[in-house]
Symmetry: C2
């Protein structure tokens, strides 16, 4: 195990001070050009040296005819060239003194016997020069904290706490937007491709040591170094959660993985066993993996599985209750003390059962502060799950009816919704040991929910996803406690 | 069973020509006022008679001090009054000759023994006057085709083909926005509340006969008239699919339902049996229910369960393959003939397996027309599932790099994306017997996907939801064929 992030062979790849870029040109339709364009768009502050046999300048940067001509040996080479010249290029990089590379080009192990042979040559070159590299057949890395995104699609959203190591490049470059919409962002993301040199175990070690990464997520089609993987994961999960999506378990998933990165998968049961051994949570879908990450990265350890649900509509209360039940969570009755405190604040028609159904009520500041505050004080409950319904169109109508002039409505609505979000989010300071979770059936991008997400309050687009994420949070902490107790014995 | 929609006792409630409105006032903070405001906002063209003891005018409409004063007996009374005056008001309506009502007020069966007694009185009044009513403790109906939305929240989106009968009012009023975002809309939605008079069976019969309703969805906390429910459903499912969400099966769901509408639930197994008997598909979540509705309402009957996946990224291809495998769908190999046709159109790095992974390719018109056209011609496949990735930011960047002036980019981008959507959607005409389904990890509201949804091509926000919806479509048609074969024997 590495003791600090700088020890990782991935460190210069994820945090390069300078990059030699092969395959970018002034023809924008080339993949390499797009990747360089993404780097420029996010504002990378290191040095970029495009290498191009003909162009004097590439995308506004002085270009070099050969890597030998560079004024220094950059930290990293990114190679997006036709398959047949990749080996020679890596060799040239080695001669120049470059010791890290991302080989984006495909046509290796995933492309049949000839490709397998070619991949052997590539690793031999790397070995000769002491080069550590990602790929081939990968999309490299994204490090929003260094404003570095050498992938095909422009980055969106802010840096976050999700570390991703992926056997699919798509899930690096195509997830910026998805993560942002769910209230998440990458701390660092690594696409390992065919794993000819650096692999998912190296990523685990890097992300385990990465201070920005609060939760590690893994997209896996097949693990090669099983023992090393288990060892690395076991060292990490006691202090940092790992969530894995494994798609090689079904026949269809296995075949797709094989033609994608040539990886060897195994039955679900084997992978379940591996994950269990080292305290990794297994997600069944990509959405679930990031849902778990959201809960794990934002919520404190719950004392137990008892959830109190706050709703002002019976149906969403019932679907949330049902979802909690199916996820192994329980819904304790509210204690007499809590009911007593609630009484003055809730309408006669409200139910003081759990779910607490406030029914029709317009005093939304109580809904988003006083009432959840009381529920968080409930000694029989460990988690608050609140239904968030505060659409702008609804607020607009109320304001309009209250006589607020039409032109003042948008600003007043935004102010009100931001205030509700701030109040609700501030409850975490009063109850630091109790997870506060929301769900909604409206868009996560509407003001109040977006504002909660931006403040680090997890809100899920349906109660089932919320309940499963809470269950995953519990599972992680229980596993961790059990492992710690085992060690103490 | 009813032979036409007009025979349904619900017909005048869902399609009233005139409404007496009790409980709306000039105090907007009253629930009744909000409901009347929603009616006015959607532009209902029938007559509205607010009844108010003090106000001469309510929300701009002439008000009547008593229902006896109305110039006619309206088709429908909507009652949003304090619990204690509901019975008397219904009696007054009866005397006036009104024969249909929606009782929104709560405080009946769901509110303990006293409420049970009160509900008995209410039904007795109705019996005496031959009144059929929805509720109490409900939100009534929404009928977008009549521009009628007497619920608490303003309607959003267009009318659609989803009929909903719900034991939760929230799922009527709070789902407009959700449905619209998924490419759906209500044909008619009914909140049954405590079902003191009209119940979910009546709704089934209405929606079964409703020409706008292509798929019936049910939110169920507990069924009272089991035998009638089964009979009604069995008569409908051979010609119109029904999807049900039942939440009373878990302990938590059961309790929530009890305090919500006082309904009596039963174990999951019993409900599974009921649903199976009458060909109803059971959804596990609200999202799933509407996902199934989207597939059932837009797609033709697939010949079988063989899916061909089109992707240009390995990861999404693999998650889709895995999702199909888990949903009981198979991924046939592409025939030699198909591979031959594809070859000239796809890059060297592409995989001609299934998923067909186009890898990096910029010729998006081939991606969205020629290539899926070939895949839809594949004789070994019954369904096409395509990964849709065409973000505006990506198109913008390409246009900018091609030298399109900055001010011309937005319009050009919208035009291009709409064109791709139109081309892709037009494939359904060439292959009318093969379901065409999309999935994306980006927002459904981005231009191309939104345009597909608007054209009735189902696109799901992840491959698992797409695969499960395809499986539900198959399940429905297999059940229907089996039932038809049984009848012929």
């Amino acid at each position: 195990m590495i003791r600090s992030i700088e020890e990782s062979p991935l460190y210069p790849i994820i945090n390069p001070r300078s990059i030699a870029f092969f395959g970018a040109s002034n023809n924008f339709l080339r993949m390499g050009s797009m990747m360089l364009s993404s780097v420029q768009a996010l504002g990378y502050e290191g040095k970029i040296y495009p290498v191009h046999t003909k162009e004097k300048e590439v995308r506004g940067l002085p270009a070099y005819a050969a890597v030998a001509d560079l004024p220094e040996a950059p930290d990293l080479a990114i190679i997006v060239l036709p398959t047949d010249i990749v080996c020679q290029t890596l060799e040239d990089c080695g001669k120049k003194g470059i010791r890290r590379a991302i080989v984006v080009s495909g046509g290796f192990r995933e492309a049949g016997p000839e490709g397998v042979e070619r991949q052997k040559q590539l690793t031999a070159v790397a070995r000769r020069y002491g080069i550590r590299f990602l790929g081939p057949n990968c999309l490299g890395i994204a490090n929003p904290y260094r404003k570095l995104n050498p992938t095909t699609i422009t980055a969106e959203g802010d840096p976050g706490f999700v570390g991703l190591a992926s056997q699919s490049g798509s899930f690096i470059t195509q997830m910026f937007n998805y993560l942002h919409r769910q209230g998440l962002g990458f701390s660092a993301a690594v696409s390992v491709g065919n794993e000819a040199n650096l692999d998912i175990v190296d990523c685990l070690e890097y992300l385990g040591a990465c201070p920005y990464t609060k939760v590690i997520t893994l997209y896996i089609e097949g693990i090669t170094r099983g023992k090393a993987f288990v060892e690395a994961a076991r060292a990490i999960t006691p202090h940092k959660p790992i969530v894995a999506l494994y798609v090689g378990g079904s026949e269809a998933g296995r075949k797709a993985g094989l033609s994608h990165t040539g990886s060897l998968s195994g039955p679900n049961e084997i992978y379940d066993g591996i994950f269990r051994q080292c305290g990794i949570l297994r997600a069944q879908t990509l959405a679930e993996m990031f849902d778990y990450a959201l809960a794990l990265g934002t919520l404190p350890k719950p004392a137990g599985n008892r959830v109190v649900i706050q709703t002002h509509s019976g149906g969403p209360g019932a679907t949330a209750a049902d979802a909690c039940g199916r996820a192994g969570l329980t819904l304790p009755a509210l204690s007499a003390d809590t009911v007593e405190k609630l009484k003055p604040m809730i309408p006669k028609t409200a139910s003081t059962a759990n779910p607490l159904d406030l029914t029709y009520s317009l005093n939304s500041s109580e809904n988003f502060y006083n009432i959840p505050d009381i529920l968080l004080g409930e000694k029989n409950a460990d988690v608050l799950l609140a239904y968030i319904l505060s659409p702008g169109i609804f607020v607009d109508r109320v304001l309009r009816e209250m006589g607020v002039p039409e032109e003042a409505i948008p600003a007043e609505r935004e102010r009100l919704l931001a205030q509700h979000a701030a109040e609700f989010a501030s409850l975490r300071e009063l109850h630091p040991d109790k997870p506060v979770v929301g769900f909604t059936y409206r868009s996560l991008q509407e003001k109040m929910v977006r504002s909660l997400l931006d403040r680090g309050v997890p809100v899920f687009p349906d109660p089932e996803r919320a309940a499963r994420a809470i269950a995953a949070l519990l599972q992680y902490h229980r596993g961790r406690d059990k492992a710690a107790a085992g060690k103490r014995r």
